[in-house]
């Protein structure tokens, strides 16, 4: 058989096309990879892996829970104890929506080596709810009439404190003095004086003390720390972080239980150091709205953002804080502001600089909050060389006028509007020069955080770390140093709003710079802003 050239062309014509497509596809993929590696090498960022927690062995730790409200229930779930009511509710939700994996995730959660032995709540309904769900014939759970009874019973090794803010320090101090381990919710304290007293108590106690800033377990924040320390962002001069909520729950108008009355609630015990007022259900269930028990945006939500950034930057207590805001969205009798702007000044702080020595130093941390709008404003760290969006995932964009990346920007290897690095603990690999697609997925929160294929709740990790330190020694990631910085910074913000002036911190003496005629704790506990100013003026 003889083949003509025409035969060969018609028979084998596809071959050169195949070769060309293959060659171009392969070389462009390899080239892109090389370019990406070049940027990754230049950035030299190491994504954090979940740190291994030593086994919590030996006899189970006997844990008592003080405060079994909304947060108390959540903390118990992280410890592995969910109420029957919640399980049923979640079962129904999962039936209605197969994507609801809350119950499934809870059941998959690793068991912690603890016994829940006691509960303490001044509202009978809540205490009974805990007993009803957690007390079994093998493991009887005791209800204690007061936290002191529980701490001194000798039956608890550790307590979890999830009460209104004004009870955090008195309970924690009582426990620490008895060498009972403490996990306390944020804000760590309710007054300035308590913050010092608690620090002393921790220093003098053998017990392990942890503050409930569970986000310290979030892998992206650990990676963000590495990014900042390597100078990827250059000198960070401004941090913008926000709270945006626009619903009743977000504004702390929680449900008032139908069975709440003077018979079912130990009102005197709830009040504690707070001003003696007649029984008030509104105050009991919605305590976050009054300075007497809570601290509003500055103590409740600013603390999250402050500690998140303190975890990344380790910036400590600001030299000064100026706050403004008011009650603009929920004028319902509350005395804590619902719109708040806090500017914290760190004039001596620096994460390093890519420019001439001494040119760049100092940073402002700007927290902006409203309870009347739900638009999601991201947390942004603004550096001379790059901008980082901080969340469960991290995204970094180079700055068009960066010194560090000037060459790469010049020759087109970087562009200001295209991220140079994206980190997502849920994805398999860090993604440099992210495509619009992967950015979209990440923005939508579709890339969940997995550890060994299981979605994990950070509160569980945080409590596990605390329990591990109790058993094995070591250091908790949010202990007294971090808690002290968080509490003082939050109190400075609250004081500044109340007094309508700048509050300063003396870092050498570790005290708030005094203001003549002002007792800071009296101001913090007083009702709101408007009444306070004239009183202070009178004193002066």
């Amino acid at each position: 058989m003889k083949w003509t050239r025409r035969d060969l062309l018609k028979g084998l014509g596809g071959l050169p096309i195949l070769g060309a497509v293959w060659w171009v596809g392969a070389s462009s993929a390899v080239y892109n990879k090389k370019e990406r590696l070049e940027i990754l090498n230049q950035l030299n960022i190491r994504p954090s892996l979940q740190s291994a927690v030593p086994h919590i062995g030996g006899a189970p730790i006997n844990v008592g829970i003080i405060g079994f409200g909304i947060r108390g229930e959540q903390l118990c779930r992280s410890l592995g104890f969910a109420t029957k009511e919640w399980m049923e509710e979640m079962r129904i939700e999962a039936e209605e929506d197969p994507n609801n994996k809350v119950l499934e995730d809870f059941l998959k959660q690793d068991r912690l080596n603890i016994n829940l032995v006691g509960v303490c709540d001044v509202f009978d309904v809540r205490a009974k709810k805990a007993l009803n769900s957690f007390s079994t014939s093998e493991n009887k759970i005791k209800r204690y009439a007061s936290y002191k009874d529980m701490i001194h019973s000798g039956e608890v090794d550790a307590v979890v404190i999830a009460t209104p803010d004004h009870w955090h320090a008195p309970m924690a101090i009582e426990a620490l003095n008895s060498n009972v381990h403490v996990y306390v919710e944020k804000p760590m304290t309710h007054t300035v004086q308590e913050t010092y007293a608690l620090r002393t108590a921790v220093e003098q106690s053998d017990a392990v003390f942890a503050v409930g800033h569970q986000h310290r377990q979030t892998l992206s924040f650990k990676t963000a720390r590495d990014i900042v320390e390597k100078g990827t962002l250059g000198h960070v001069s401004l941090i913008q972080t926000n709270t945006n909520r626009n619903d009743d729950n977000g504004a702390w108008n929680y449900d008032i239980h139908e069975m709440a009355n003077t018979q079912t609630i130990d009102w005197e015990q709830f009040l504690g150091s707070a001003p003696k007022i007649p029984f008030n259900k509104n105050h009991f269930f919605r305590w976050r709205k009054w300075w007497a028990y809570g601290s509003g945006l500055s103590g409740d939500l600013l603390t999250h953002d402050y500690d998140r950034l303190n975890c990344v930057l380790n910036m400590g207590i600001p030299d000064s804080v100026s706050t403004s805001g008011g009650i603009y969205t929920h004028n319902d009798g509350r005395n804590v502001p619902d719109v708040l702007q806090v500017n914290m000044e760190f004039p001596r702080y620096s994460v390093g600089s890519s420019q001439s020595k001494g040119k760049e130093i100092g940073m402002t941390f700007c927290y902006s909050a409203t309870l009347g709008n739900g638009f999601n404003r991201p947390t942004i760290l603004m550096g001379h060389d790059a901008t980082m969006e901080l969340g469960n995932k991290l995204t970094i964009w180079p700055d068009g006028s960066s010194t560090r990346y000037a060459d790469m920007l010049e020759n087109g290897k970087m562009q200001p509007n295209i991220p140079i690095y994206q980190y997502n603990p849920g994805a398999t690999v860090p993604d440099a020069i992210s495509s619009a697609t992967s950015q979209y997925f990440a923005d939508k929160g579709l890339m969940w955080t997995y550890i060994d294929g299981v979605r994990v709740d950070s509160t569980f990790l945080h409590m596990r770390e605390w329990l591990s330190v109790i058993k094995n020694g070591g250091k908790v990631s949010c202990g007294i140093k971090e808690g002290f910085e968080e509490a003082i910074s939050a109190h400075m913000a609250g004081l500044s709003w109340k007094l309508g002036r700048k509050i300063e911190w003396d870092a050498n003496q570790e005290v708030l710079k005094p203001i003549t005629g002002v007792d800071f704790d009296e101001v913090l506990l007083s009702n709101g802003q408007v009444e306070m100013v004239p009183i202070v003026m009178e004193k002066i």
Binding site: G14, L18, V21, G25, A29, P98, L446
Partner: protein, 165 residues
């Protein structure tokens, strides 16, 4: 003669279509093959429509590597068969299968939020059109006109005769 000319034009058109679809599949496959970081996770995790649970299931670690490897292999197989013109009908079937999955993962149904699309679609989108083009290729094989199928037994003579017409 007139019919012969028209038939030839149709053959050339379908051959072009075949090669271009093969080209498209091959390029997608090769780029993924040479990028070890590539994964279908995002595409599957964001799936919508009636088969969403199935695609979500595939994102599990146990399946994902297989899904990725199978996808790359299938893309390259379709590319080879359609460009080279050999086993093109089998290739077209594989192409139809892949495109059905792509379509169903992100169907252009009214009421579903369209993500990662550069145009506006109502039921019919580019995946679906490419799928129909694969059906055409399945039904009108052209490998004996252009491709390795040309060397199939008996065809040479026939075409030689045809050329002498």
């Amino acid at each position: 003669m007139v019919n012969g000319k028209r038939e030839r034009r149709v053959k050339i058109s379908i051959t072009l279509l075949r090669i271009f679809i093969g080209w498209h599949f091959l390029y997608e496959g090769v780029v993924k093959l040479y990028n070890p970081d590539w994964t279908s996770f995002g595409y599957l995790a964001s799936a919508q429509g009636p088969l969403k649970p199935l695609f979500a299931l595939l994102t599990q670690e146990t399946f994902l590597d297989w899904v990725d490897a199978l996808n790359i292999t299938a893309l390259i197989v379709v590319g080879f068969t359609l460009i080279l013109g050999i086993f093109e009908r089998k290739g077209a079937l594989v192409g139809i299968g892949l495109l059905s999955l792509y379509y169903l993962a992100h169907p252009s149904f009214p009421g579903l939020h369209q993500i990662n699309v550069e145009g506006n679609y109502w039921f019919v989108n580019k995946n679906l059109i490419e799928l129909v083009a694969c059906i055409l290729i399945y039904n009108f094989p052209t490998s004996q006109f252009f491709g390795l199928g040309y060397f199939m037994k008996g065809k040479l003579t026939k075409i030689e005769n045809y050329e002498m017409d």
